[in-house]
Amino acid sequence: MALVIVLSFVVLLTGVVLAFFTRVSANRVVSAGSSRQWEADQFARSALSVIVGDLKQEVTSGLPVTATNIEPQRPEAPASGPNPIPNLVRRSARSNTGTRAAESSSTDAAVNGRAISAARWNKHYLVPRLSDADDSDTAPDPTAGFRVPDWVYVTDGGPEVISAPEQTALARYAYAIYDVGGLLDANIAGFPPDDVPAPTFGPKGVLAFADLTRVQMSKEGINGLVGWRNRESANSPEAFGSNSFGSGPAEKYSNWTLRRADGYLGVFPSASPAPAPPAVFSRTDQAFVSRQQLIAFRRTGDINFSAHALQHLTTFTRARNRPTWSDSETRLAGRFSLSRFDLFTNPATNGTPTSGPPPPIQQYFGLVYVAASATTAEHWRYVGATGNTLRSTIPVLEAGSNREPDLPVLLAYAYRLPPGASPRDVLSIVASLIDLRDGNNDPNNKTTWIEFTGPDGTPQKAFGADVIPEPGAPAPPTPDLRRPFRSVGEIGYALKNGTTSVNFASDSVDTPLLDLFTYEASATRGGTLSLNTQNASALAAVLSGTSIDRLNSSTISETVAETAATAIVAETRRQGGAAVGRKDIGRLAAAANVGGNEEAVEAVARALSDIAQPRTWNLMIDVIAQAGRYPRTATDLSKFVVEGEKRYWLHVAIDRFTGEVIDQQLEPVYE
């Protein structure tokens, strides 16, 4: 009996121990899985650090910046002809030296069957799809020319190239880098095509007036996008998914877009300038906070939004609003804001010196106001940013960094005016720009003139150009703008000495001005498009609908825009043809060959000058990391045991000239 009792206890004990160890084993597996997932997350973040570090190394080792190295290296892009995958910069591949990749494709199945298909790699829709011709097929399967990334193995010595399975391998990752700076920012681009009139969108200047029909979006889809995104700033009554917008909301949307001063990085009403939004409101405008949200938006089905368009859209663009053109000794703090010309709508208030600091017009333009009198007409005196003595020359911009010169000094710097030279030509451009802007507050439309002294001290005049000329002024030109400037390209309407127009239709001495002025004055901004984009459709969207003259009599047609965009892409892709600064817009305008007179050709400059930028790399890094190990019996690189996986999309903006990481945004991707 006792033996039976003992045996029973032994059986019970065995059962308890077995149950315990079973529980422990199961918990160990779960715990290991959790920790492996955490490891995969850490490896993915570390991989991103390595990749971003490589990009920054490419920046620092590629100085000075030239047309041959301003863009990130694209080792697999064709040397000539159209690029079939325009958004792809590079991928981790054994053939791409520097990526540290092994001869191990991510589509090869691991020991436990894990593999990354090409369709999974194109989950972001940045690669043209195999079924792009089929509107009903929304699968992300990429075009046949897309080769998936290879694995980079991480051993205890870090990421390194291995040719055979290593027992020290801890993880592996694969990645692809995409140029999203060459795409249209879906948080800003687009306007209701049937409700915004041509005089409003024609002058362009902001990405909001990009024609999204050029990137395969329907008008209904555009209305739905803008209606969801800007419902509050447009005060639209439409529900989600509505195909209509309305002229009233379209006008409100346009007005708010043109008044923004937030670098296109904010959302109404927090980004709203005066007048202030209503005191009581329950909603705001919207923004895509991630690319996955954009993809989900398209997938709702409520918005008629083609999957084709996703390869032309992004949700992240950043750029420092600083010029790239300069001589070798001077660096400007920023660009000269066109909104400063609004001061001339009230010249007496903004230009008359008082006992205090210089008035704003003197501060920015070096001019003081002289009211009309019995002996002299209303005019301006060039005295410089400080003081009250009539000047005979324009001071030279001092060498150094972070300079903020007034306009005559800036123009003299741009035109490389020799020290001691007459300021007449420069001041005539200033006067002409004043005449372009002051029209709606200058009922007599009189020509502006600026007084300065000659070398012998005699008073001299530099004339602008307006409808009613002053005695001695050149013949009047076509009417002025009668509105605020809409883009830097509109400086092309200015005249030198009343006769010769500023020329942005070719690579002229005037084109540095495109880099030194800005419509949007924020130090950091979004809503930009890379001047070296290889996505011709995105470029065509910006060009399409641009007014070819100040009277908005006609616009660049869709067909001409596409041809021009293709020509611009071809020009920037040729050896040594990449744009280094906005100065190159003149050259690209000539290459675009939209036809017509100089003003018509300059439409390209008016469309691109405030949107396009070449100095920032806006990239999306798609990385997949797997934690795991090689079993001892592994004989092939693909025989990796995957124990955890993590995927991230990192949007990063890197300044090509300084290597600064301007901003970054990390999206975890759950599949």
Binding site: A2, F9, V17, G227, A287, F297
Partner: protein
């Protein structure tokens, strides 16, 4: 006279001594086995309790990791977090927008963004995940909103302490203490989510990681302690002290307080575990 040789009869019985010895040995074996069994039961019970607590803490922290990793980080969205003006003494509360699924209204097109919140209520950790519809999908369902609209004004449930079962789910039934602090870019720990001259969260630009500590008791031990005792112990577990604590000090401080507590039976206190994890907010 016939003589009969007496046959030897086999002895089939144990002697008394043999019986006594055998019984003694068997009794010792039973005793030994019983003690072995009891010890094994104790060990397995303690280990099972620890596994239970660790499993729950791991599941909770893994979920928080997912929510924090998918957090919408922009300078123009609101966060309900610990700040100098919202010091949150005792158990902390946090609410933010995250790109994770949530509990959506019964109809309407669902956006991938939810309002996520964590709080302690009645000695248990609760999680709110309110799925948001797309803007203008519904006149009653509020979508993602940007500043100056705040989470507190738009979804007060996410930021108050009112019992609200329909919106919150019991996420950690054994968790009775929840505390977090910020790991700033300069390497210091802080109870303020900004540094230097900054005065707002600004998308957590100054924060590199969120450090979270939770204290939880396993199910079996919880039976031995009342909610009032757990609440009292929670009050004894200090808040993060930015001036004196470094990473890991908070967990050690809590453990010392738990070891020394007299607010509940020792077996209950022995079942309390402290878990601490850092959740990165920087991309890499």
């Amino acid at each position: 006279m016939n003589w009969v040789t007496p046959r030897l009869r086999p002895n089939l019985a144990f002697t008394l001594t043999e019986m006594l010895i055998a019984i003694s040995i068997l009794a010792m074996m039973v005793l030994f086995t019983t003690r072995l069994f009891n010890s094994a039961a104790d060990v397995t019970t303690q280990s099972t309790k620890r596994i239970d607590a660790d499993s729950e803490s791991r599941a909770i922290l893994d979920r928080i990791a997912v929510d924090v990793a998918a957090m919408v980080r922009r300078p123009d969205v609101d966060y309900f977090v610990k700040t100098p003006s919202n010091a949150q003494p005792g158990n902390d509360q946090i609410a933010f927008f995250s790109q994770v699924p949530g509990y959506y209204p019964s109809s309407g097109s669902e956006s991938p963004i939810s309002v996520v919140a964590y709080r302690i209520s009645a000695t248990r950790l609760e999680r709110l995940a309110k799925g948001l519809l797309w803007n203008a999908e519904s006149t009653s369902g509020t979508p993602l909103v940007f500043l100056p609209l705040t989470i507190e004004a738009t979804w007060p449930t996410a930021t108050n302490s009112d019992p609200d079962p329909p919106n919150y789910e019991i996420f950690g039934a054994q968790v009775f203490r929840f505390e977090y602090c910020y790991h700033l870019a300069d390497g210091s720990l802080s109870a303020t989510p900004w540094a230097g001259s900054n005065t707002s969260v600004n998308g957590f630009r100054d924060v590199v990681a969120l450090e979270v500590a939770i204290a939880l008791i396993d199910r079996q031990s919880k039976v031995l302690a009342s909610d009032a005792q757990l609440t009292a112990l929670a009050d004894d577990l200090r808040d993060f002290e930015p001036s004196t604590m470094r990473s890991g000090d908070l967990a050690a401080d809590w453990q010392n307080a738990i070891n020394a507590t007299t607010r509940m039976p020792k077996p209950a206190a022995a079942g309390i575990r402290v878990a601490y994890r850092s959740f990165p907010l920087i991309p890499h």
